[in-house]
C-alpha cells in the first residue's frame, strides 16, 4: 500500500472532497466556513470546489444543529461544524433529544445520516470554555455514534465512514492534532466505525486510549520500553460502537490495563472501560485497572496550570510502573 505523509488537516480535506464528489447530498454547514475555510482552516479549498454546499450561517448553533437534523430527515447528508466542541452545550436538546432519538421514538420511520464535527480538547491556552473533551456525555446518549481519531490515516478513513453511516455520528477532532502528520494511503479506503487499532504491540500492560492521548501513550510506551516494560497501546478510535473484543484480547494477554483520556477523570469514559474490564475479565486481572484523565477542574488558562491539569507522558509512565509493580507482586 503506497502512502504519503500528510497532516490531519489535509486528511480532512481529502476525505471531504472525495465524499462530496461521490455524493451530492452531502453539504457542510456552520460558521466562518467560506472565507476562512473553517476556523481551523480545516475545510480549506472546499468552498471553491463545492460552492453551494459549504454554507456559512449566523451565530445560531441551536439552529445549525437542528438544521442538520431536519436536512438529514429529508434526504440530505449534512456535516455540521460546531466551531468548538464546547458549543455543543448550546445545542444539546437538538443533539440529545432530537438527533439521537428521532429514529427510535418514531418507530424507525426515519434515519438521521449526519455528522456533527467538533474540534475538542485543550492544550492551546484557550481556557475553560474552549478546551473541553465532552465525549462521555454522548457515549451516555443512546442513538449516537462517537468517533475520536488520533492520526491522519484514521481521521481520513473514519471521517469517510462517518459520512457514509446512516446514523448520527459525533466526530470529535482534537484541535491540537490538525498539524500532526502521518502516513496516509494513496488509494481510497474507509475505516469501519467500531474497530480499535493496536498502535503498539506489547506483552506487559495494556494501555487503552484515544484521540490526542494516543501519541502521549505511544511516547510513554517508548519510554517504558527503555525500562523493560512492553506496553500494548490500543487506540479505540470509536467509543460507540466500542471494540471491546480488541480490549479483551489484549488484557487476556497482559493481565493488566490502564485507560488514558484527556477528558476530566471523574465520570469520564475511562470509568466505563475500567468497569467493563472488571466485569468481563475479572479472572485475568493481576492488578487493578487504573485510569488517567485531566484533573477535575475547568481548564485553566495559564500554560503552567494547563499542563498540570492535562495528562502528561510522565503520568502515564508512572501509572504503568505502579501497575507493573502490583502485577509482579
Amino acid at each position: 500500500m503506497r502512502t504519503r505523509q500528510i497532516s490531519v488537516s489535509k486528511a480532512i480535506v481529502e476525505a471531504l472532497t472525495e465524499e462530496m464528489q461521490r455524493d451530492e447530498s452531502i453539504f457542510i454547514i456552520g460558521e466562518d466556513l467560506v472565507s476562512h475555510g473553517g476556523i481551523f482552516n480545516q475545510f480549506k479549498g472546499l468552498p471553491a470546489l463545492f460552492k453551494d454546499r459549504i454554507i456559512d450561517t449566523p451565530i445560531s448553533e441551536t439552529s445549525i444543529v437542528g438544521c442538520g437534523v431536519g436536512a438529514a430527515l429529508t434526504g440530505m447528508r449534512p456535516i455540521v461544524d460546531m466551531h468548538f466542541a464546547d458549543f455543543v452545550t448550546t445545542a444539546m436538546d437538538e443533539i440529545v433529544n432530537q438527533m439521537a432519538k428521532i429514529r427510535y421514538m418514531f418507530g424507525g420511520q426515519a434515519k438521521v445520516p449526519m455528522v456533527l464535527w467538533a474540534p475538542d480538547g485543550g492544550g492551546i491556552s484557550a481556557a475553560a470554555q474552549h478546551s473541553q473533551s465532552l465525549e462521555s456525555w454522548f457515549v451516555h446518549t443512546p442513538g449516537l455514534k462517537v468517533v475520536v481519531p488520533s492520526d491522519p490515516a484514521d481521521v481520513k478513513g473514519l471521517l469517510k465512514a462517518a459520512i457514509r453511516d446512516d446514523d448520527p455520528v459525533m466526530f470529535f477532532q482534537h484541535k491540537k492534532l490538525f498539524g500532526k502528520r502521518g502516513a496516509v494511503p494513496e488509494e481510497e479506503y474507509v475505516i469501519p466505525l467500531g474497530k480499535a487499532a493496536v498502535k503498539r504491540k506489547g506483552k506487559d500492560i495494556t494501555i487503552i486510549t484515544y484521540s490526542r492521548m494516543t501519541s502521549v501513550c505511544l511516547e510513554a510506551g517508548r519510554r517504558l520500553a527503555d525500562i523493560g516494560i512492553e506496553a500494548e497501546v490500543i487506540d479505540l478510535r470509536t467509543l460507540k460502537p466500542l471494540d471491546f473484543p480488541a480490549i479483551a484480547e489484549s488484557v487476556q494477554k497482559t493481565c493488566c490495563a490502564m485507560v488514558v483520556h484527556e477528558a476530566c477523570l471523574t465520570g469520564g469514559f475511562g470509568g466505563e472501560i475500567a468497569a467493563c474490564i472488571g466485569e468481563e475479565l475479572f479472572d485475568y486481572l493481576a492488578a487493578p485497572v487504573m485510569r488517567i484523565g485531566a484533573k477535575d477542574v475547568p481548564m485553566p488558562f495559564s500554560p503552567v496550570m494547563e499542563n498540570f491539569v492535562l495528562p502528561q507522558v510522565e503520568d502515564v509512565c508512572a501509572c504503568a510502573e505502579k501497575i507493573m509493580k502490583r502485577k509482579r507482586k
Binding site: 437542528g66 431536519g70 437538538e94 432530537q98
Partner: protein, 333 residues
C-alpha cells in the same frame, strides 16, 4: 406587513367539495380528541395527552394550503396537526394506546407521532424543538431545488424560546420556504400570553426578521386558509418565510387532568358558545347553501363511525413485545 385578513370579505373562493373536506376534517379532529380524552380518563392511554379541541379551524385552515409532499412539524399538542396533514387515525390511536401497530410501534406515544410518508416530520415533546428542525427541512428543499414548503406549528409559549429567534432569522437569511404558524390559544400551560409575550403579538415579531407577519381569527377556518395560503404561495415561489399568528382557544386543560386554576369556566364557555370554529363554519356553509343540516348530521355520524373503527383497531392490536424496546435504535438494528 402586520395585517389581518378582512373578515368581511366574501367567502374564499374554493370549491364546495374542498369546503366540505375542510369541515369533515375539523369534525374528525374534534371527535378524535374527545374520544382520546375519554380513553385517557378510562386509563387506557398511558402517560399524558394534550388536546386541541377548540383549535380545529386554525390547524385545518393551515394544513389545507399544503400539498401532500410539503412538510409539517408539530408540537406536544399534535394530534390535530397530524390528522390535518392526512394521518390515519387508526395508527394514531394504536400509538396512543401503546400498541405495536401504532405509527411509532408504541415507542412514541401522544407527543411523538410522525408519518414521514406524508411529510409529517413529527410531533415534538420539547416546546420550540421543531423550529430548528424545520430550518433543516427548508434548507434541504432549497438544496434539492424542489418547490416544497415546510410549516412549523408552535404555541404562544413556544415563541419565547430562543429557537424561535434563531430559526426565524436563519429562515429569513436563507430565504427558506417556511411558514411559521403560531397557534396562540392565550395560554402556555398556566401562563397567559399577554403576560409572557412582551408586546403581546407574535406576528409583530416578524418585522424583526424582515418577513411578513399576519394575525388572523383562528376560529374562522376560511380566514386562516386565505392568510396561510398567501404565506405558502410566497414560500413556494421563492419569496421566503412568513409568520402567521392565529387567535385561537383550547377548551380543555393544558393536559388532561389539568385543574385549570388560571382561568374561569365562564371564559371557556364564552369561547365555546360564541367562537366555536366548527359551529361557525357549519353556519356559514349552510347560509351559503353549500350544505344543509342533514349533510352535517351525516358527516358527524360517518366520522364518528370511522373514529370508532380506528379505536377498535387500536384496542384490538397487540402490545409490543418487551424486547421490541431494543430494536430500531440504529439503522441496522
Amino acid at each position: 406587513m402586520h395585517s389581518s385578513a378582512d373578515s368581511n370579505a366574501p367567502i374564499i373562493s374554493i370549491s364546495a367539495s374542498r369546503k366540505k373536506a375542510i369541515l369533515k376534517k375539523m369534525i374528525q379532529i374534534r371527535q378524535f380528541e374527545e374520544r382520546a380524552g375519554e380513553l385517557f380518563h378510562q386509563k387506557l392511554i398511558p402517560g399524558f395527552i394534550h388536546l386541541s379541541i377548540g383549535q380545529e379551524a386554525s390547524t385545518v385552515g393551515s394544513c389545507a394550503s399544503l400539498r401532500p409532499d410539503d412538510y409539517i412539524i408539530s408540537t406536544h399538542r399534535g394530534h390535530a396537526h397530524i390528522l390535518a396533514k392526512g394521518a390515519d387515525p387508526k395508527y394514531m390511536f394504536a400509538e396512543l394506546l401503546g400498541k405495536k401497530t401504532g405509527y411509532c410501534k408504541g415507542k412514541g406515544g401522544s407527543m411523538h407521532i410522525a408519518d414521514f410518508s406524508l411529510g409529517i416530520l413529527g410531533a415534538n415533546g420539547v416546546v420550540g424543538g421543531g423550529f430548528p428542525i424545520m430550518v433543516g427541512a427548508g434548507m434541504s428543499i432549497k438544496l434539492r431545488k424542489t418547490d416544497q414548503v415546510g410549516m412549523v406549528f408552535f404555541g404562544d409559549g413556544a415563541s419565547n424560546r430562543g429557537t424561535f429567534h434563531e430559526a426565524a432569522n436563519m429562515a429569513a437569511v436563507f430565504k427558506l420556504p417556511i411558514i411559521f404558524v403560531c397557534e396562540n390559544n392565550n395560554y402556555a400551560s398556566t401562563s397567559h400570553a399577554k403576560v409572557m409575550v412582551a408586546g403581546g403579538s407574535i406576528a409583530a415579531r416578524a418585522k424583526a426578521y424582515d418577513m411578513p407577519g399576519y394575525t388572523v381569527d383562528g376560529s374562522n377556518v376560511l380566514d386562516v386558509l386565505e392568510v396561510v395560503q398567501r404565506a405558502v404561495d410566497l414560500a413556494r415561489s421563492g419569496g421566503g418565510p412568513s409568520i402567521v399568528e392565529t387567535a385561537t382557544y383550547r377548551y380543555r386543560g393544558h393536559f388532561e387532568g389539568d385543574r385549570q386554576e388560571y382561568r374561569t369556566i365562564q371564559e371557556i364557555n364564552a369561547h365555546r358558545m360564541h367562537r366555536d370554529p366548527i359551529a361557525r363554519f357549519e353556519k356559514l356553509l349552510v347560509a351559503y347553501n353549500t350544505i344543509n343540516l342533514d349533510y352535517i348530521v351525516k358527516i358527524w355520524h360517518e366520522t364518528a363511525e370511522d373514529i370508532e373503527k380506528a379505536i377498535h383497531f387500536g384496542m384490538e392490536s397487540p402490545l409490543p413485545a418487551p424486547e421490541d424496546a431494543l430494536k430500531g435504535l440504529f439503522v441496522n438494528s
